[in-house]
């Protein structure tokens, strides 16, 4: 054990290839003879397909094949949905539309051509004869009897679900006060900067298929695609090279992934499809998309009694992998950071003529936090007390953990007041409120928003997950002493190549540069679940940690045997097994040279010189384990350990975000003055990476709160379908963040880590909206729906 790396701002080991332009994303891999695929997609939101004429496309130069829905309907299985909810309606989701299209962007035909330009040209030559059908894009209209999308279901309601504990009706009927607010969670596009992409290569001799795909879940995808196209799972290899962001949008199994694999098998050639940005916004999953009523019951002193959320969830036309499950996560987190004795969620999940919603960074939890935090602001406004104090009043105390919520969860650990105190201190809360009061007297509009969030991370115990919630790791020490880690948690920007190497380097007492983390290749890495739900470090990192302990147990036995000592007298320190001094007096003081790993003489491996030694480096033990000439009885050769970690609970990170804005009375423009975030994600492996995760998440929250919305018009056309219309935050839109932390270790895993990937998108949105609403309080504003744009603000100021 050393403490050289964990907790330090270690520079990322993956960065050199990325900053030099030498990394490989899917589109950077070129195989000789690759054919290129482009898709014909529906231009209508709902239509019957009468006929598809592909003859002109087939005759076009360079076109090799064209496949339509009818060609593949019997050959490729349905796009999977892993959510198992009672009485869930699951539409038959084919990889290409068969006789109807259900949303703009719905894939209809795949063109295969010799280059990407020829494939794109031929898309325009496919003649699709449509009969337009009535559409429904508004979720409440879909629920209440609009045009039925999937006729066999009779209506558009995919499922209804009620959850929660406590006597909600009695709570509301007996409460001193209640209030109600309708809230909208705008539909968002995840927009990973690398669009999706697939390269498929079939080897007819070996009967093996390799898929390079930009995915967060290589193993789950392997299983699902194998089932869809009927190839044995052990003949399918999924490789995720560099993945350029995911945010949940690549936590899925898409039609294109199965289709490309199947086409490569038909043609016996490599085939590649790289999503265009327009396709990405139209037909990669969307996030959020809920509208509902919050009701809160509380006492005159601000004590919360009950919370009810009646919500319509806009699922889109089909279920993707986790579509119906996302609103249920909202239900789980409706207690927020507060003691609320009775909670109920009533979900109506509805089909609409849009792309499916699914897990976008936070996945149902940003909605929950937004609801609870907006509710607390409304309670504060109703009682005319400070929003921070209403929150403080309702926190569970640190000694009340594990804290049971009326949503059925047991929060692992927390000290919510400490984070609030720290954030208030950093921002100078009392002075700020005074400044705000004075500014208002001058007619200036300053607003302060407070969010004291809690989130659910480290997804999760397998009982609560559709396809396993554990994570795997193999740690091995190669004959030359280099350390190799194979993790099932394949990252896509989070930096696990560094953070997992930090864990290993400290636990093994080696230099971080001697550790390589391998991920994202099902042909090399043992089965894993993937990176999502802020789980990689808490679940995958723990698997690495425990595998190392197993490996060290074995190394300890081997070292003890070679050093001819007793286990209890051999200790491991600084990468070296040593017989304790008192017991090895004859050899103390002899310092043996330690060669840097891999710098030994070339050629044959040296024989470990162990005769008469009092200590051995881990590398020497590894070599002895591989040469296997001097092992204790009944010991397997080699030095490797694999561990599958099954967490017993989720983890519950928390924090306080305080946002300060000033609104321009003339233009309605909203300017950030301060942004303070105090997050508690348990123990921190690399503070620099944690800061990066928090920054990125907050800025996605800024996007949701102020810029981003997927707008479908009355014909179901996506009018914010390019980056010109779908407004992402840019560098000039962000505040200068002031970050700090508190550290409450999680008891759920031995590292004490909780997770931080989604904290920003969960905690920040209500702070930003709260600040803007607070700035506009002089106009009687108590709530505004997102995105809050200058035009909305200007209208409020100028309505007289």
């Amino acid at each position: 054990m050393t403490d050289n790396y964990i907790g330090k701002r270690v520079k990322r080991t993956e960065d050199p290839r990325l900053i030099k332009g030498l990394a490989h994303y899917v589109d950077d891999i070129s195989l000789p003879g690759t054919l290129h695929v482009a898709f014909v997609r529906s231009i209508y939101a709902h239509a019957k397909i009468n006929n598809i004429d592909t003859s002109a496309a087939l005759a076009a130069p360079g076109v090799v094949a064209v496949y339509t829905g009818q060609d593949v309907a019997q050959k490729i299985g349905a796009v999977p949905c892993a959510s198992a909810l009672p009485e869930l309606k699951v539409p038959d989701h084919r990889v290409l539309a068969t006789n109807k299209v259900y949303f703009v962007g719905h894939p209809i035909a795949a063109i295969v051509a010799t280059d990407r330009y020829a494939a794109r040209d031929a898309v325009d030559l496919v003649m699709v004869d449509y009969d337009e059908l009535p559409i429904v894009t508004d979720v409440e209209q879909a629920a209440s009897g609009g045009p039925v999308i999937h006729e066999s279901f009779g209506d558009n309601i995919a499922y209804k679900l009620t959850a929660g504990e406590g006597d909600i009706d009695a709570t509301f009927s007996g409460a001193e006060r209640t209030l109600k607010q309708r809230v909208l969670h705008n539909r968002l596009a995840p927009i990973a900067m690398e669009p999706r992409g697939v390269l498929a290569r079939y080897f007819p001799g070996e009967e093996e298929l390799t898929l390079w795909s930009s995915t967060q879940i290589p193993h789950l995808m392997r299983t699902q695609v194998a089932l869809m196209i009927g190839i044995p799972e052990n003949k399918l290899r999924v490789i995720t090279p560099e993945v350029g962001g995911g945010f949940g949008s690549k936590l899925n199994v898409y039609a294109e992934e199965a289709l490309l694999g199947w086409i490569s098998m038909q043609l016996g050639k490599p085939v590649k499809w790289i999503e265009t940005r327009r396709e990405n916004i139209q037909a990669t999953i969307h996030g959020r998309g809920q509208v509902g009523d919050i009701e809160v019951a509380f006492k005159n002193d601000g004590t919360l009694l009950g919370l009810r959320y009646n919500v319509f969830a806009d699922l889109g036309a089909y279920h993707q992998l986790l579509t119906p499950a996302i609103p249920t996560l909202t239900g789980l987190m409706l207690s927020g950071a507060y003691k609320i004795p009775a909670i109920q969620i009533n979900i109506t999940g509805c089909f609409t003529n849009k792309m499916a919603t699914d897990a976008y960074r936070g996945a149902g939890r940003p909605e929950a936090t937004y609801i609870v935090e907006r509710a607390l602001d409304l309670v504060a406004a109703e009682l005319n007390v400070d929003p921070a104090e209403v929150r403080r009043k309702n926190f569970p105390k640190p000694d009340e953990f594990p804290f049971h919520t009326a949503t059925g969860l047991d929060y692992d650990s927390g000290n919510y007041e400490a984070a609030l105190d720290k954030a208030q201190q950093i921002v100078g809360y009392a002075e700020l409120r005074e400044e705000q009061r004075k500014a208002r007297e001058e007619g200036r509009l300053i607003g302060i928003g407070v969010s004291t969030y809690v989130e659910i991370c480290a997804l999760g115990p397998s009982q609560a997950m559709p396809a396993g919630g554990w994570e795997s790791a193999t740690v091995r020490i190669e004959p030359t002493g280099k350390v190799t880690i194979l993790t099932g948690a394949s990252p896509h920007g989070q930096g696990q190549e560094t953070s997992f190497a930090q864990i290993a380097a400290d636990e093994l007492g080696v230099n971080i540069n001697d550790v390589t983390v391998i991920h994202g290749d099902t042909g090399v890495v043992q089965y894993g679940i993937g990176t999502f739900g802020s789980r990689a470090t808490a679940v995958g990192g723990t698997a690495v940690f425990v595998a190392i302990q197993k490996l060290k147990e074995k190394a300890h036995k081997i070292a003890t045997h070679i050093l001819q000592s007793d286990t209890s007298r051999v200790s491991f320190e600084g990468g070296k097994y040593s017989v304790q001094r008192a017991a090895a007096a004859s050899t103390t003081g002899t310092s043996e040279p330690v060669y840097p790993v891999g710098e030994g003489p070339a050629g044959a491996l040296p024989e470990p010189e162990t005769e008469g030694k009092s200590s051995m480096t881990l590398q020497e033990v590894a070599l002895a384990a591989h040469l296997a000439k001097e092992l204790p009885p009944d010991t397997e050769p080699g030095l490797s350990a694999t561990y599958f970690f099954e967490p017993k609970n989720f983890t519950f990170p928390f924090g306080t975000h305080i946002c300060v804005v000033e609104v321009d009375r003339e233009t309605g423009d909203i300017a950030f003055r301060r942004y303070v975030a105090v997050d508690d994600c348990g123990k921190v492996i690399n503070p620099m990476l944690v800061d990066g995760q928090v920054h990125g998440g907050i800025v996605q929250s800024i996007g949701q709160a102020m810029f981003e919305e997927l707008v479908y018009d009355e014909n179901g056309q996506l009018v914010t379908g390019t980056l010109m219309d779908y407004a992402l935050p840019r560098a000039s839109h962000i505040p200068d963040f002031e970050l700090d932390r508190t550290e409450t270790p999680s008891p759920v895993n031995p590292l004490g880590v909780k997770g931080v990937g989604e904290a920003g998108t969960i905690g920040a949105t209500p702070a930003i909206v709260g600040a803007i609403v607070d700035a506009l309080a002089p106009f009687g504003v108590k709530h505004l729906d997102m995105p809050i744009k200058p035009e909305n603000v200007w209208r409020i100021i100028n309505r007289g």
Binding site: G21, A192, V243, R277, H492, L689, L723, D736
Partner: protein
């Protein structure tokens, strides 16, 4: 149909015959194999494809290869000299200016151009200079700090 072009990329001369409609970014990536320059939107809105064309940062997804005939281009692969990282590259590594890395080459090239024009930019000037480049991971704060690091480093050199 094809037209001959002659250009210098990262100091190496190339002569090729290309379709007039071939985008510069596809020429760099598919013909020359310089895949460090990425395509993020095909509409010049995201900046992932930014390269230097005769000293100007341009979005190579909206320049035809034939338009670059006779020009001198620097891509991300050409920024490091003699194995030494460009100060902006170093800044991105030191200050954690990247996560998934996809926007990074374009962001680094745009930042290098920014520093070429203004060796000591304010935070506001950095933000303004990078408005044409989208990043979805970092929230920009560490990118801004990376550029500040590079400016300081270059100033000391």
């Amino acid at each position: 149909m094809k037209q001959a072009i002659n250009l210098s990329v990262n100091g190496v001369s190339h002569t090729d015959e290309v379709e007039p409609r071939m985008l510069l970014v596809h020429y760099l990536r598919d013909v020359l194999g310089l895949t460090g320059t990425h395509v993020g939107c095909e509409t010049s809105l995201c900046g992932a494809c930014t390269v230097m064309l005769d000293g100007q940062a341009v979005k190579s997804c909206t320049v035809f290869a034939v338009q670059a005939d006779g020009s001198s281009i620097t891509t991300i692969e050409g920024l490091a000299k003699n194995g030494e990282l460009h100060p902006v590259q170093e800044g991105f590594w030191e200050r954690h200016g990247l996560q998934c890395g996809y926007c990074t080459p374009g962001m680094i090239v745009a930042a290098a151009q920014l520093l070429d024009r203004n060796a000591d930019p304010s935070r506001e000037e950095i933000c303004h200079g990078l408005e044409g480049n989208l990043c979805r991971c970092t929230g920009y704060q560490h990118i801004i700090e990376a550029v500040q690091y590079a400016a300081k480093k270059a100033g000391q050199a």
